[in-house]
Symmetry: D2
Subunit: 308 residues, 4 copies
C-alpha cells in the first residue's frame, strides 16, 4: 500500500455521530444518513473525526461506528477513520483495529497534551512509528484550533518521505503552506482542504479535494466547486464558494458540531443531541442558523433542503 494510493481525491464528509435521546450511539440513524449521502458523488467518508465527536467516544463505540459505516458503504467509497490518541501506543492499537474493521486510511491527529515537548522531532517520531505499524496508509491531520499544534511545512514534507504517509488534511486555513507543500511534493502527496471555507483556494494551491463538515449538509455544492475549478470556470466556482463560507463557518468555527447536527435536522437528516461538554444550540442560534442556510440556498424557504 502507500505506493499505489487508493482513491484519495474529491469530497469527503466527516460525518457526525448520531446519538439517541439517551445519549447512546444510534446506528440506525447513521445508516439513514449514509443512505442519503450515498446519492451523491462523494469519494468517501471520514468516521471518528472532530465532527464525529471522536474525543467523546469510548473505544467500543468507535469500533461499532466503523463497522456500521463500512457495512453501509460500497467498496468504491473510501473509508477514512480518525485514530489519533494521546499516546503513540494507543494510536497504534486503534489504527490496527479500524484497519481490521475495513478502514482504508487512518487520519492521525498530532498528540497535543504535552505541547511544550511536541517538537518536530517528537512529532516526527510519533507519526513515523504509527505509520510503520499501520496496515493502512496514514493521512496527517492538522487541526490547530482543537490541538493547539500547527504542523509545519518542513515537518509535513519530511514525513511525506515515509511510504505509508500519503496525505494531509489541513484545517488551519493557511493555504500558502499548502502551496509550499505542493511545490515540494507534487500530486503524489494528497492534500485535502479541511474546511469548506477555503476549498476553492486550497484547490488553487494543489489540493485534490476536501474533508468538509459542509459536505454533510451541502454535498452537491462542494462537489460542484471542485468540478468548476477543474474546468477552469473560476468565476462560477468563486460565486458558489463565497456563498458557502457563511454556512460553513456556522457549522464549524462559530457554533461547531451542535450547529452541524442542528443543520442536519433542518435538512431532514438525523443529527440528534451532542454529548456533553458540548451543548445544544439555543433557540436564537437555531433561528440564525436557519436563516444562514436559507440565504446560502442550502435550505429552501419552506425548509426543505435544496438537494433532494
Amino acid at each position: 500500500m502507500g505506493t499505489e494510493v487508493p482513491r484519495l481525491e474529491g469530497i469527503f464528509p466527516p460525518i457526525p455521530t448520531p446519538f439517541d435521546a439517551g445519549g447512546e450511539i444510534d446506528l440506525k440513524a447513521l445508516a439513514e444518513n449514509l443512505d442519503w449521502w450515498n446519492r451523491f458523488d462523494l469519494t468517501g467518508f471520514v468516521v471518528l473525526g472532530s465532527n464525529g465527536e471522536a474525543a467523546l467516544l469510548d473505544e467500543t463505540e468507535k469500533l461499532r461506528l466503523v463497522d456500521s459505516a463500512r457495512a453501509a458503504l460500497s467498496e468504491d467509497r473510501s473509508l477514512i477513520v480518525g485514530t489519533g490518541l494521546p499516546s503513540t501506543r494507543a494510536t497504534i492499537v486503534l489504527t490496527r483495529a479500524v484497519a481490521d474493521a475495513g478502514a482504508d486510511f487512518a487520519l492521525v491527529l498530532p498528540p497535543s497534551y504535552y505541547k511544550g515537548q511536541m517538537t518536530d522531532g517528537a512529532l516526527g517520531r510519533h507519526f513515523r512509528t504509527v505509520a510503520d505499524a499501520s496496515p493502512i496508509p496514514v493521512i496527517l491531520y492538522n487541526m490547530p484550533a482543537c490541538t493547539g499544534i500547527d504542523l509545519g511545512a518542513e515537518l509535513i514534507v519530511s514525513l511525506a518521505g515515509h511510504e505509508n504517509i500519503v496525505g494531509l488534511k489541513d484545517s488551519s486555513g493557511n493555504v500558502a503552506k499548502l502551496g509550499r507543500i505542493h511545490a515540494e511534493l507534487g500530486e503524489r502527496f494528497r492534500i485535502l482542504a479541511g474546511s469548506g471555507s477555503f476549498l476553492l483556494p486550497a484547490l488553487a494551491m494543489g489540493a485534490v479535494g476536501g474533508v468538509l463538515a459542509l459536505a454533510n449538509i451541502a454535498p452537491r455544492q462542494c462537489i460542484e466547486i471542485r468540478r468548476l475549478s477543474k474546468g477552469g470556470d473560476i468565476d462560477a466556482a468563486r460565486e458558489l464558494q463565497v456563498r458557502m463560507i457563511s454556512p460553513n463557518t456556522a457549522v464549524t468555527r462559530r457554533w461547531g458540531v451542535p450547529a452541524l447536527k442542528a443543520a442536519m435536522e433542518m435538512l431532514g437528516l438525523r443529527g440528534g443531541p451532542v454529548r456533553p461538554p458540548l451543548r445544544p444550540l439555543g433557540g436564537e442560534q437555531r433561528d440564525e442558523l436557519r436563516a444562514i442556510l436559507i440565504e446560502a440556498r442550502i435550505l429552501d424557504r419552506n425548509e426543505k433542503e435544496m438537494n433532494r
Copy 2:
C-alpha cells in the same frame, strides 16, 4: 463532604508514573518512591496529574496506580487524583472509580478538545455536573499550557459556590488572578500554586500551598519556602524561592516530564522511561540538568541528593 474540607493545604508532589524497561507501569518503583517521599512533611500526593503522564495511561492502569498509592499512604496523607477526561460522562465514571479506590479529592481538568465551544457556560455546566455526581470534593485544575484553555476568575468564583468544588490548582502563573479570587472567596476556597516557580508569590496572594513537580525532587525546600513565608521571613523565603526557579523550569516548561524523571534518577529515586510521544532527554540535556540541580543545591557535587 465539601463543607468540612479535608486537609488541603501544604505541599503536594504530583508524582510521576514509573514505567519499566518494557514500558509498563512499575508499581514496585512507585512504592519505593513513596517510601522516600513519606519521610517529608508533605500533606499528600497527586496521582494521575500531568506529571503522572495520565494522558498516556489507560483506565486499568489508572486504577492500579490509585490503588497502589492509597495502599502506600497513611490515612493522614491526602490523596488527590486527576480525573479530567474529554467527555463529561467519562470524567464522572473515572471520578467515581477513584473515589471507590480511596481518593480524597478529584482534580479535574477542563475538557479542551472543542475549544471554540468551551464557553464559560459550557465549562461551568461540565464542572457542576461532575461535582454533582462526584462522591469526593472536586478541585479545579487550570493548566493552559497543556489544555489551551485558561479558566477565568469569574468562572472560578462562580464555581466556588458549588458545595462540592473546594479548590483550585492553577499552573498559569497569573498570580494577580489568584489574588482576585482570594479577595472574593477568602481561605474557604483552597488555592494551590501549580508550579514551584511561583510558590512564594502565590502564597503572598492567598494560596495555601502548592501542587509542585519540584516537590518530587526538592520536597524539603518547597516545605521550607511555605514555612518561612508563614513566619514572615520573606527575605529567607525569597532567597530559597528564586534559587528553585531554574530547576523548576527545567523539570516543567523547558523539558517536562522527561526531565523530572531524569532528575529523580539522579537523586536515587525511580524515574524510568517516559511513554511516547514523550522522548527521553538527550545526553547534553542531562548534563545541563545535572548542572542546574547542583547549582540549586538539590544535588550535591558528588551527585548525592542533599535531602537524605
Copy 3:
C-alpha cells in the same frame, strides 16, 4: 473622489526606501529602481508601507519620498501611500499632506498601541474619522503580524459602507475572510492580497490584485499569475504561484525587509542598508537567499535576474 474609484486593481509593489551608506534616504537610488519597475505593467506603487520602513522614517523624510515617487511616475500609475499613525489626528495630518503631494490613495494601518482598547467600535471610529477628513480614498491595511490586531470581516464590511473607504489590503493570509467580504460587498470594494504567498487563492476568492513585496523583485511573475488566473488557466497559474512561495516567504515573514533589500541588490536594483533596529542579513542567510531566488528562477545561475 471616492465615488468614481481610480485604478485599484492589479499588482502594486510596496517599495523599499533606499538609504545611503550614512543611513539617509537616497532619492537617486529610488529613481533608479522606479525606472526599472516602470518597464512592467504594474498598476502602481505603494510608498511608506511596511516594506518602505515607514515606521522608521520621520515626517520630513516621508514627504520627500512621496514627492520623489510622484515625480517619477506617469499619471496613469496609481500612487498609494501609507499614512497610518498611532493617533487619529496625526494620521489625518499625514494623509492630507501626502494627498497634497500627489498620492491617489491612503493606506491606513489600524492604530495598535492600546490593543486592549481597540474594540471594533474604537477602530471603526478611527477609520471613519480619517476617511471623513481625507481628500483621497482610504484603503484599510490589515497587517496582524506587525500590529497584533486582525481586522475582522464584520468591521471591514461595516467600514466599506463609508463612501471614502474603497478597499482592503490584507496580509493575514486568511483567504476565507476575503471570500466572506467579497460575498457581501462584491467587486465595488477592492480587495488586494497582501502577500505573494497567496495571490492566486486570494484572486480565487474575489481579490482584484495584490500589494506584494515579491512584486519588487518578480513583477513579471506576479502579473503573470493574475493574467493566467483571469484566463482560467489554473494549472499554469498554480505552477507559477507555488514556485513563488519560497522566495516570497524569504523576503517577508522569514527575513523581512533586510532580505528584500538584499534580493534587490542581487538583481541589480538599489537596496542599500536597513535602518536599525532592523539588521542586515548575515552571510549564510544571503547565500541561502541567493539559492532560493535561483531555484525560483527569479535570479539566473549567473546571478543576472531573469526579467531583464
Copy 4:
C-alpha cells in the same frame, strides 16, 4: 552614572497627560495633579509612559511635558521618562533631549513594529546602542500587552551587563521571570513591578518597587503594601494587595487610560479627555468604575477620595 544608581526603588506613578477640551495638553492641570501627588512619599514619577498616552503625542508636546514635570518636582524626586520609539536613532534623539530637560532615567520600550525580525540579537543591539548613547541610565520596559514582544529573562540578564542599563519595569505579570532575573542579578539590577495587580508578589520575588497606574489614584495604598511587605507583615500586605486588584484591573487591562482619567476626575484630580483613537468611558462603565473604587475604599461613598 549607572554605577552609583540614583533613587530607583519605591513607588512611581506613570502619570497621565491631561488634555483640555480642545484636545491640547494642559500643563496647568498637570501641575495641579503633581501638587497633590507631591504630598505622598512617592520616589518619583514616570512621564511619557503608556498611561501618559506617549504614543499619541508629538515630539514638541513630549518635551513640554518633561519640562513642566521637572519644574514641578523637587530634586529628590526621580523623573523617569519614556523614550522608546520605533527606530534606534529616533529613540536616541529623544533620550538625549529629555536628559537635557532634566530626566533622571530613560524608560525604553522595545521597538515592535517588525516583530518577526526582533530577535534577541536585534533587540540586544538596539538597547545597547541606545544605552551607549544615552547620558542617563536606561530602564528596560517590558509591556507585551502593547508591544506584542515579551523580553525574555536571558536577554534581560545579558543587557544588565551594560553599565548604563540599570533596571526593568515589567508589566507582563510573569513574576517567576522576575524571580529568575533577581536570582541571577541581585539587588544591583532594579526590578520594578509594572502593575498594581502584582506589586506584592513582585516584591516577594525581588522587585524593589513599582511603576503603577494605580499609584496615580491610590498612592498611599501602594506605598503601604510595600512598607508592610518590607516589615514582614504579609497578612496585612495581602489584605491590602488583593483589595487593590479590582480597581487596578479597571484602570489598566480592562478599560485602560480612559478609566484611569475618569477615576482621577472622581477623586478630584484633573484627568480630562483621552486622545483618539482612545475613546472616553461610557456612562455604564463610569458607574461600574465608581462602584469598584468605592468597594476598594479608594473613593468614599460620598465620592470624596479617602486619601485627603
